[in-house]
Amino acid sequence: MTDLTVSNDTDRKEETRLQPGVSAKVRKPVSDAVSGWLMSLPMAGVLVFFLVLPIIMIVVVSFWGATEFSIYPAFVFDNYEFLLTSPVTYSVFLNTVKYALITWALTLGIGFTIAYFLAFHVRSLTWQIVLFLLCTIPFWTSNIIRMISWIPFLGRNGIANSALISLGVVDEPLDWLLFSDFSVILAFVHLYTLFMVVPIFNTMMRIDRSLIEAAYDAGASGFQTLTNVVLPLTKPGIMIGSIFVITLVMGDFITVRFMSGSQKANVGRLISNDIALLQYPSAAATAVILLITVLIVIATLLRFVDIRKEL
């Protein structure tokens, strides 16, 4: 509370303080704008050159034409026409949405449980930090290596199959463990659950503990407190985590390619296949459709959360 009053005081002082030689009222807003622009100039520059221009370039190229070995400027709708009339496109988009939804549900369930344990059951701050770090360290290591790591587990002669056989659960090795939808989703969950854990844990740590006590005092059971107090207050964290997971899965191409042994497809693979065949205009058209889809999903999710407030 004291902090609040202090900073209010200084704010007020700032308005009335005399600055010799400078008329504070006139100069200040202008210099704020100028310094703001100057300070954010490098960031804006990078974003314009490596984000905005590339997006514009993709949109432009999506109207270009292509031969087998080169692309040429044009303004044709061929790429979109081919894309939107091909049944492959729809089944691939459907598959992409399927991966996104299943991964989202699993990472949300696991992520929420882990964050809940860390925030409400681990009592010392040191242990919270240590266990939280343990959860986040894999984020700073290579995704590709983490995918490769599943091979000795899931292969025909892998650990999972040997264990199942020696336990007598199955008689012969299961084929669907590796290079299947199962392994793709397993890898997604493995790679991206921490994108759920971190924001959910962050919001949970800000929940006023007296609210939980109040719920107990009012006679709520542990489960009722969870669903009626903790869950609603954690919603912003859940939304941020969902944005991460859904966009990462929808834009992925490498996990699907690697973990399905090139047997399954999603939109990202559609794009990367076109790129490999040097069909850039067609890849660009698919990319535009993917971008629109992702932005619609994000815009919907952002309606439920103010990101800047949550940091």
Binding site: D3, S7, T10, K13, A33, G36, L38, M39, S40, P42, M43, A44, V46, L47, F50, L51, L53, P54, I55, M57, I58, I110, I114, F117, L118, H121, L131, C135, I137, P138, W140, T141, S142, N143, I144, I145, I148, S149, I151, N157, G158, S162, H190, T193, I243, T247, M250, D252, G268, I271, S272, Y280, A287, L290, L291, V294, L295, L302, R308, L311
Partner: protein, 279 residues
Amino acid sequence: MEKRPRSFYVLATFFALFLLFLYGPTITIAILSFQGPQGGLTFPMRGTSFHWFGELFEQQAVGDIWGSFSRSLVLGLMVMTTTVVVSVMGGSAFRKKFPGSSVIFYLIITSLVIPSILVSLGVGLIFSQSGLPVHWSTSGFGAQLTWTLPFGLLIMFAVFNRFDKSYEEAARDQGASAWQTVRHVVLPIIAPMLIGVALFGFTLSYDEFARTLLTAGSYNTLPLEIYGMTTNVTTPVIFALGTLTTAFSFGVIAVFLLIVLLMKKRQTRHGSDAGQGLV
């Protein structure tokens, strides 16, 4: 201490299983990378040896691993430095509202959620169509910044949201210039968080695959090299490489965390209340 409820033990077990799920595969390939020379990609182990680590040092067996490693290292350091400087500047700019700030904010969010392959494709097309050389230190560098800068800026938001402005006021009241305030008050207080930003900048760049795929040009970075290996290498040498890379990442993370710890210790030892400015 009050008795733990039963749910604690259930959740603790779940947490332990989660950690096993998270680290199990990595530990497995670490063990398998010590396979004997006759061993394969799965258990059983046929003896133990450093054979596959030795292979990594032979050119013909694995291609240009060390070249790609040094490129990734240099690129990581470039991206790290740029991310820290640009994020701190951007974060400071956002402490006050300025015209156009929300445009930049939404661009940052877009940068974060846009599928990586779009950045890769777009940057690659711009460079190749305009005749600029596609190289990891130019197009690759810029493409990676679109992934590290959002993290850097969001961390700076979190840092400045918790920053107690009265420290700056105090400095200014004592006659410090704007630059002196930044140099001697703001930077020392936020220094430990800057190490965090640096950690994100370096490791995200070092491991980045999709955004570098079409922007690295003819010289591969390490993740691209490893990915190339997955399609044509069928021996545990790839596990040995994975183990080394992961060990390197762990080393980097440990060093960064250690620096943070030391900095915090130093701040307390010097009896200053720097670092307490974050409320």
